[in-house]
Amino acid sequence: MLGYIVRRLMSAFLVVVLTSMFVFLLFFKGPSNPAEPLCNLNGKCTPEKLAILTEQLGYNDSVVHQYGIYVGGFFHDRTISFGPKYHCDAPCLGISFRTRNEVTSELVEKFPATLSIAVGGASIYLTLGVLLGTLAARRRGTLLDRSLVTFSVTVSAVPYYVIALMVWIYVSLQWKLIEDTSYHPITSDPLHWATGLALPWAVIGLTSSTAYARYSRGQMIETLGEDYVRTAVAKGVSERGVVIRHALRAAIVPIITIFGLDFAFLLTGTIFTEVIFQIDGVGKWAIQALRSPVDFPVVSATVLFGAVIIVLANLIVDLLYAVIDPRVRLA
């Protein structure tokens, strides 16, 4: 077990390192003129100004050298200068071209909103999806089962942003049921936090729950057909006991895997949700950074941050497997 964890940690670390290299290379070598967005920000961009900025940002140095400086910034403070000098505390992800703030502190500021959306939405779709899927599997072939499948096919066919936008237009703008959709920190006002995010939660929860319902229905049908379930029924375990303790316990393992990765993707930025409901989270921040002129430090930070989250989620899911599924033995 310990050997497995160590090996798994090492490979996760390797992936993170490779990702950071790729992201750095992409935004360092990728744009034909990387200093130009910054140059365009303050007045007219003259060739001299561009040349100075290119030099200051290190685009004339080698990639390896600059990558070294970039990685160094994770561990100790850096001074970054383009025009004026900026101090950047460790862990440093650069200075935003647009706001001239430290990218790390902006990330820390935006993340709670995304985290709140993700946690709320994910708990709704996981509970609802597994519940509906289990019900449909038990009453296979009934009206409930068939309408669930039809509904889920339909909902997953309509682009997510259309649904979110419709909900926002009708519930929030037209019927004025919940007018304020915005993020308020849970620490300052828990009630406002919940009402502000209720709509995004509902939209994420309902749209994604259909996929989970379909998936857990399939898993439950499979496990309900297993011999040990029949054994449990034969020895007189109640139906509820069989479904919950025997079948669901086994069926939930693959669901948890998928859930882990889905949740990680939510954490990397609920882009559509944040843009539509106007919530200041990581996703909206990334989109704004991509608007011309591109804010390269922010964009690369969001991508790198997302990659780290995904790698971590993979790691946690793999380790959880060993705990929740007694059949998994790690060699």
């Binding site: 490979s11 390797l14 992936v15 993170v16 490779l18 990702t19 790729f22 992409l26 935004f27 990728g30 744009p31 034909s32 096919v153 339909t154 997953s156 066919a157 309509v158 682009p159 997510y160 942003y161 259309v162 936008l165 419709m166 237009i169 703008l173 037209q174 049908i221 993707f265 990397t268 930025g269 882009i271 559509f272 843009v275 990334a286 989109i287 991509l290 011309s292 591109v294 964009v299 690369s300 969001t302 991508v303 997302g306 990659a307 989250i309 995904i310 790698v311 993979n314």
Partner: protein, 339 residues
């Protein structure tokens, strides 16, 4: 030739194929049936799948015919019809249902007055072309890497495995957006015509670049078991080249999962194009795609509901029919999968 391997295997399941019933009732079917024909027989029995096949075929025909119709002047996605708009209401189309008439069966756009049906038809052509090319490239990359990794094993296998991990570790949506500026710039420098061509090509490239890992994994798994089969040993002993083994010996055994995967990728990519278009990546107005027609209609979701509803419904119909087709193909090709 009565008992082919597939016949033997499918004896496990009860009543799917009429050939088996013939055999049980004593009639011996002399004619051998290929797995493809067996699958087709199963597929034809499923009404929902057949309906999906008809609908997808219609969409495909529409996509093929609309460039021709556009050239012939039957559909015209670009000409504005200001005369059909009511200036007093803020340039909303006059009349019922967003200005429906015989010459404009689905009405005209508010604001510019371009024909909605023409834009949708021509847009479907572009969207489906993008989805088709991206799906083909995705499947091709995934298949080639999957076969090579599965067959070669060892260091090549783990290299491909790491590449898969790496690709999957990028937040996909964010990457598709983040790359757009950089890649489109570079492609324009390379001489790709700016505008719709470069933006469409970009979507195809990035969707395939981030879409191949799952299929590579799937194919690798299949190849691991296929490579242990005798016919592969025989080919190796006869001195067949690597390429022959990959493409003539192994690949023909993989077409069933590939077909299913391909059919399910199409709708995913149609929605992806629509979603990216909403965030401002991809082919932009005035060139119509399903994504940007819908994107342009969103702001009228409340004021001109019909104009908004039609593109949303067309996208949903395409996605549903392709998904059902893929599900049907999977059930037909792999009867053990069950529903």
């Amino acid at each position: 030739m009565t008992l082919t391997a597939s016949n033997l295997e499918s004896h496990g399941d009860d009543h799917f194929v009429d050939a088996e019933e013939d055999e049980r009732s004593g009639k011996v079917d002399v004619e051998g049936r290929s797995p493809l024909r067996l699958a087709w027989a199963r597929f034809r029995k499923d009404k929902l799948s057949m309906a999906a096949l008809v609908v997808t075929t219609l969409f495909a025909l529409m996509a093929i015919s609309s460039p021709i119709l556009k050239r012939l002047g039957v559909i015209d996605p670009y000409t504005p019809h200001q005369d059909l708009l009511d200036y007093a209401t803020g340039n909303y189309p006059k009349g019922f249902g967003g200005g429906m008439s015989w010459s404009h069966p689905l009405g005209v756009e508010p604001g510019l007055g371009r024909d909605v049906l023409s834009r949708l038809m021509y847009g479907a052509t572009l969207s489906l072309t993008i989805a088709l090319s991206a799906a083909l490239i995705t499947v091709a990359i995934g298949t080639i890497l999957g076969i090579i990794a599965g067959f070669t094993g060892g260091i090549v296998d783990s290299a491909v495995g790491r590449l898969i991990d790496l690709t999957l570790s990028f937040p996909a949506t964010l990457m598709l957006l983040a790359l757009s500026g950089v890649v489109v710039d570079r492609m324009t420098d390379l001489g790709v015509p700016a505008g719709a061509t470069v933006n469409g090509l970009y979507i195809v490239i990035v969707l395939s670049a981030f879409g191949w890992p799952p299929i590579a994994r799937l194919i690798r798994g299949q190849v691991l078991s296929i490579r242990e089969r005798e016919f592969v040993d025989a080919a190796i002993l006869m001195g067949a080249s690597r390429r022959r083994i990959y493409f003539k010996e192994i690949l023909p055994n993989l077409w069933a999962p590939l077909l299913v995967y391909f059919t399910l990728l199409m709708p995913a990519y149609v929605s992806a194009e629509a979603a990216l278009s909403y965030l401002g990546v991809g082919i932009k107005n005035p060139t119509p795609t399903l994504g940007n027609v819908l994107g342009g209609a969103l702001e009228y979701a409340y004021t001109d509901f019909f104009f908004f509803f039609v593109p949303a419904a067309v996208i949903a119909a395409i996605v549903i029919s392709f998904n059902l087709l893929g599900d049907g193909a999977r059930d037909a090709l792999d009867p053990k999968a069950g529903r």
